[in-house]
Amino acid sequence: MGLEEAIESGKFIVTAEICPPKGTDISVFLSEAALLQAIVDAVNVTDCPRAMVRMSPLVLSSKLIKMNIDTIMHLTCRDRNRIAIQSDLLAAHALGIRNILAMSGDFTTMGDHPYAKPVFDLDSVQMLQVINKMNRGFDLMDNPLEGATSLCAGAVVNPGARPLGFTRIKFQKKIAAGARFIQTQAVYDTDLFNEFMDEFKSVNIPVIAGIIPLRSAKSAGFMIENIPGVKIPQTTVNRMESASEPITEGLKIAAETIERIRENCQGVHIMPIGKHEHTKRLLEMCSLL
């Protein structure tokens, strides 16, 4: 089932994320996709995450479409002005890509090209508006398109961000701007997540919670240090530190997290550190397969 059908059906949505390669060898990317094909509704393809140069998600999303895997293509505002964004959206439609995750993007100085010019001509709310305008057959300046897009736009939110004040406002703006689904930053603190979701009970688009199974105590430390807005409770870090089989412990923690939030959200988005070798096992552990 593709993402749009999954949204329509109201089922509990499962998505997973793959990062394009840094280089021209796409064999690992394709084998990861093949692992996910039968177990998720759609595969996210990231757009130079952490501002590291990698292959364009446009090309790899198109490869997945050819493999009959529905994709959610990430598109950031970091590297493209409004002309390039619209051009890429038209190209995405032509390649059969139907789901776009609109996001600001990690800042340039975090990546491997710290002196790159940050673009940020549009912000994520404005990108969502552009997508919806193109779906109606017009570009940003109201010029008619020869053929409208039919893209399902999604947005991201960090339910762990505090204070909630402006996060709440921006979330509402994204919905008003036409977001049809939400994917979140990795959730570890389920109380923070549930508190956030309680605020948005009336929201009628699916919120798909981000899950990153920890691999070691060190990976928890890395995430806390390097991934903005990720909050991992000390008890979780302690469990990872004392675990004899840290990978299994990380999967258990992820499965428990899913159990504790599943009543409050409409899906989960698995984005492991490294490969998807354990994603199937995780989904089985929480009866999502």
Partner: protein, 206 residues
């Protein structure tokens, strides 16, 4: 205030390398660069001695009142006659002063500073990124605070996902959106923040 930073002596010498045998006059600016201690009298003197240590032919140094606002090249020479004897002006002002001198004189003009931000001086504190000169001022929706310049990602509709516990993920400072929320709340203006702002109209004033 235009905020400048000193280039390294290596970068300055690299620029001077093709013209290393020409006579240099170091030109400071007492306005922003003087206040920021990047182009005032002490910095000009220091630059002269560094250039001399590197066997450059420095004839003198002068500090202009404001390198960004000059009546004419003739009036400048009248005020600072030593400049006319130089073949190269090494300018310790912001990029505007450098560009203006480059435009009005027949000397070779080389910058000694990098121009990094439009800032403000608050007592002894220098506040960076107060305006980005985007050409369409939207600070009326934020009671004077500017997210286009204060947010590294130039967001107009709220903080990015990296705003964490009120701090910016990029710069070591409070997230401008946290500041905006606090100010708008204190001034009973929170509902204004619900408005979705359209993309900036760049170039409309040029």
């Amino acid at each position: 205030m235009i905020v400048t930073r000193s280039k390294s002596i290596e970068e300055i010498l690299d620029q001077l390398d093709p013209i290393a045998d020409l006579k240099i006059c170091v030109v400071g600016c007492s306005l922003c660069a003087g206040k920021l201690k990047t182009g005032g009298e002490p910095e000009v003197k220091n630059m002269i001695s560094q250039l001399q240590d590197n066997r450059m032919d420095v004839i003198d140094g002068v500090v202009l009142k404001h390198a960004c606002s000059i009546e004419s090249w003739e009036s400048l020479i009248k005020e600072q006659p030593v400049i006319s004897d130089a073949e190269v002006l090494l300018v310790m002002s912001c990029g505007i002063g450098v560009s203006l001198l480059g435009r009005i004189c027949d000397k070779i003009v080389i910058p000694a500073l990098d121009t990094v931000s439009l800032g403000a001086a608050l007592n002894d504190e220098i506040l960076l990124e107060m305006c980005s000169m985007c050409g369409q001022c939207t600070v009326g929706f934020f009671s004077g605070l500017c997210p286009k310049s204060g947010c590294p990602k130039s967001q107009l509709n709220g903080p990015c996902g990296g705003s964490n516990d009120g701090e910016c993920e990029v710069r070591e400072r409070k997230c401008i959106w946290t500041r905006i929320y606090e100010v708008m709340e204190a001034k009973n203006m929170l509902p204004v923040l619900n408005k979705i702002l359209a993309p900036t109209e760049y170039n409309r004033g040029l």
